[in-house]
Structure formats: structure tokens, C-alpha cells
């Protein structure tokens, strides 16, 4: 008798697209109809009447089937908004990087002939670092919070799109890690120079940074291979 309900639901879904959502709806329908059927039987109804009553209770599924054909995954308005937000975050970050150089210039030697070591000169450098940190934070946030492409159904194309989106996201995260390494190297260079007067061996951090980046790259490739 359960088969009859199942077959009936199958026949209702003949026109429906074969997506994951349609299958889930089918499962849900069968499970609830079966519960209803069992309930009717336990109330003493005979099998044929119970089956008929259950099937009659489904009603007109036309609207439901039509709704399965609508595309919900891609919402152009939302996508547009996310693009705008992402552009805004990136431009703000870039602007911060550029503006950051104003502080050490303004607070120190370049204008009033003071050295970096004076308290005011240090404030300038510190403000620049704060700008860099904020800007990098914005870039990382932008990369991580970008929406992940959710696959709409179980076709190969959708699988590919999801895989590609995951891959893009991963590489966005990696890219922000790389930029962080370079930024830390710069910060380190300035700290070594300003506080320890070690400008000379200090510049070596810029040779070290690409090495660190390559190591991160290797580790990530190695881990991907293991997955």
C-alpha cells in the first residue's frame, strides 16, 4: 500500500525537473502521506479507503511543481549588492594603504625636521601600521565573506560551478595570507630600523618574505593533495 502512495507521488512529479530540491520535496511528501495513511489505518479505516482518502488530500500540486522550476539560487539583485559591497571594501582598503604614508611623513622628519625616534615621530609610524592592519583586515574580510556558490541541483555543471567557487574562495584566502606576510615583513623592517637602527641587516626580511610565501603555498598544495 505504501508503494501505491509512492507511485502516485512519482506520477505527480513526472513534469517536475529532476533536481535535488524536487527529490527532497518528493521524499517529504511521501513521508507525510505515509504517516497520514498509517494514522487512518490505526483509526480502523480499511486499506483502500485510507489510500484513497490520503491521495485525495494531496490537492492540486500544479503551483508546487511550477515553483520547482523557478531559479532561486541566483538572485540578480542580491548578486549586484554583493558586488558593490565587495568593490567598496576593496577600494577602502587600497585608499587606506595609500593614505597611511601621510602619517609618518607628516609627523616626522620630512616636514618638521624631526627624527622617527621622537615620540611624535613614532606616533606617525604607529598610525601607519594601524592603517595597514585595518586595510588588510578589510581585504581578508572581503575574501572570506564572499558568498559561496550553492549548487542548484545535482548536475555536473552545478558540481563544477560549486567546485570552482570553492577553489576561488580558497585562493582568495591564500592571497590575503600572502599579502599579510609581505605587510608583516614591512612592519618588521620599520621596527628593526626605527627602534634598533638595524636598517642594514633589516632589509633582509624582504628576501625572507617570499620564502615564507612559497612555504605556505607548498603546504596548501600538499594538504589539498591529501584531501
Amino acid at each position: 500500500m505504501n508503494d501505491m502512495i509512492k507511485n502516485h507521488v512519482e506520477s505527480l512529479f513526472v513534469e517536475a525537473p529532476t533536481t535535488r530540491r524536487a527529490n527532497e520535496l518528493k521524499d517529504e511528501l511521501v513521508s507525510n502521506l505515509t504517516a497520514r495513511y498509517n494514522d487512518l489505518i490505526s483509526q480502523g479505516m480499511d486499506e483502500d479507503t485510507a489510500c484513497k482518502t490520503t491521495i485525495d488530500g494531496i490537492g492540486d500540486v500544479k503551483e508546487l511543481i511550477t515553483s520547482l522550476r523557478e531559479q532561486e539560487v541566483f538572485d540578480p539583485v542580491q548578486a549586484q549588492m554583493q558586488r558593490k559591497r565587495s568593490a567598496l571594501l576593496t577600494s577602502a582598503a587600497v585608499a587606506l594603504y595609500i593614505v597611511s604614508f601621510v602619517f609618518p611623513i607628516f609627523f616626522s622628519g620630512a616636514i618638521v625636521g624631526r627624527d622617527y625616534e621622537t615620540p611624535i615621530g613614532i606616533i606617525g609610524v604607529a598610525l601607519m601600521f594601524v592603517c595597514w592592519a585595518t586595510a588588510t583586515g578589510l581585504l581578508v574580510y572581503n575574501g572570506v565573506s564572499k558568498p559561496r556558490y550553492l549548487k542548484e541541483d545535482d548536475t555536473i555543471v552545478e558540481d563544477f560551478k560549486e567546485w570552482k567557487s570553492d577553489k576561488n574562495k580558497k585562493s582568495a584566502i591564500l592571497k590575503s595570507i600572502y599579502s599579510m606576510v609581505y605587510m608583516l615583513a614591512t612592519i618588521l623592517f620599520f621596527i628593526l630600523g626605527v627602534f634598533f637602527h638595524a636598517w642594514h641587516p633589516g632589509w633582509l626580511v624582504f628576501l625572507l618574505a617570499p620564502v615564507v610565501v612559497q612555504i605556505i603555498k607548498l603546504v596548501s598544495i600538499y594538504r589539498e593533495g591529501n584531501d
Binding site: L29, S31, G59, E63, L64
Partner: protein
């Protein structure tokens, strides 16, 4: 009955939200509760119920999750979200207002006493 259910149809979503505000539930359980509350006078067609679920889910009024198996098939549960609770509260107010207005307009004088 059929005319009454036409009048009720516009409130399907509110009815479903009201059921879910009591506890998380699944399709058949909701329909059964509706039947029991109305002494068998009203029940939703399955198709109507799932269309309502879909619209509510799109409007972020409910969330769904797969619960345990019971009758051999997976069972999808629904729970009300804060948005859904707000919508329900507003719909209750709207309904009371509409009811009062319609009562005033269509019930003959003195018939209410």
C-alpha cells in the same frame, strides 16, 4: 465548507506560523493539529501546505531541517524564525482589525446580541 475554505486560504501561512510558534513540527503533524483544533471542520491540502512552507522559507519566516526517520522516509521539520514570529504577531493584529471591520459592515444591526 468550500466557500469558507476559500476565505481561510489567504491565511494559510499565518495558520502554519501559529502552529510552528508552539513547537517545531512536520507537515502531517501540523495538518493533524489543524484538524483537531477545528474538530475536523478544516484541513489543508498537502499541496497548499507545501506551497506555504516554500513561501515561508523564501521569506525567511521558517527554517527546515531533516529529522529522524519514522515511517521509513526522511522527515523534514520546520521551525519558526524571529522574522516569522514578527510576521505572525503582525498578522494577528491585522486579522483582529479586519474581523472587527467586517463584523461591523456585514452583520445586521442587533444580530450580534
Amino acid at each position: 465548507m468550500s466557500i469558507a475554505s476559500d476565505l481561510i486560504r489567504g491565511h494559510t501561512e499565518t495558520i502554519v506560523l501559529a502552529q510552528l510558534s508552539e513547537r517545531d513540527s512536520y507537515g502531517y503533524e501540523i495538518n493533524k493539529a489543524i484538524q483537531q483544533k477545528t474538530d475536523g471542520l478544516f484541513e489543508l491540502k498537502e499541496a497548499t501546505l507545501y506551497s506555504a512552507f516554500r513561501r515561508l522559507e523564501q521569506g525567511q519566516c521558517v527554517k527546515s531541517y531533516w529529522g529522524g526517520e519514522d515511517t521509513g522516509a526522511r522527515r523534514r521539520y520546520y521551525s519558526i524564525t524571529p522574522v516569522g514570529a514578527a510576521v505572525l504577531a503582525q498578522n494577528r493584529i491585522d486579522w483582529h482589525e479586519a474581523k472587527e471591520i467586517i463584523d461591523k459592515l456585514i452583520i445586521a444591526e442587533g444580530a450580534l446580541e
